[in-house]
């Protein structure tokens, strides 16, 4: 069964460092998303991406965040200068089109120390 895969599963980084979280969406999907879940809190939308550009972003997705689809398979989230409050589980998701269900990856746990 096709699935969304994310790497790494856990990343520890020092405050102020840049991190790149990687995702391989399901191959025939066209819409890609990043969500995050701070420990004990709800899953929150960060950004959606279609046709090589951002479709929508939340207020959380400020200038320190960026997304990219560098090739035909990967979808990345970059955090330029990490803060302690960026510590969370980051989920990548993809959907076949704008109105079908999103399938989530297993997540990358980011710990900023």
């Amino acid at each position: 069964e096709p699935e969304v895969t994310q790497t790494p599963s856990h990343q520890v980084t020092q405050m102020g460092q840049e991190v790149i979280l990687r995702c391989v969406p399901i191959s025939n999907h066209l819409y890609f998303y990043w969500y995050r879940q701070i420990l004990g809190q709800k899953v929150e939308f960060l950004v959606s991406f279609y046709n090589n550009e951002i479709s929508e972003k939340s207020e959380i997705f400020d200038d320190q965040f960026s997304v990219e689809r560098p090739d035909g398979s990967n979808f990345t989230l970059k955090i330029r200068s990490t803060k302690l409050e960026d510590s969370a589980m980051y989920f990548c998701a993809s959907s076949e089109n704008r109105n079908t269900e999103a399938f989530f990856g297993q997540g990358t746990r980011l710990t900023v120390v």
């Binding site: 969304v4 819409y31 998303y33 969500y35 809190q41 709800k42 899953v43 929150e44 939308f45 959606s48 991406f49 279609y50 046709n51 479709s55 929508e56 589980m89 989920f91 959907s95 704008r98 109105n99 079908t100 269900e101 999103a102 399938f103 989530f104 990856g105 297993q106 997540g107 746990r109």
Partner: protein, 115 residues
Amino acid sequence: QKEVEQDPGPLSVPEGAIVSLNCTYSNSAFQYFMWYRQYSRKGPELLMYTYSSGNKEDGRFTAQVDKSSKYISLFIRDSQPSDSATYLCAMSARGLTGGGNKLTFGTGTQLKVEL
């Protein structure tokens, strides 16, 4: 008022019980309604998906949507210990973003089914 409200639980039931999980929402633009199951430290997994008022059944699971009351429910019949997880409701508004289906999640209800 929060866009989506969900009782966080925890909810503990004996094996075989019928479980009822609920969410209310305030945004009339929401047209698509989903239930996700999330095991500890894993990603959400889609259980049910519907875009109309009424009931939708899939095995032991029934999703119910009442758009007039802005209320959705998930019923689990003959609950099993393997159903122990956090259940998240999620919603999206069709066409609101012009592309992609941003999901708005509830906080999740933690369910434990005991032997």
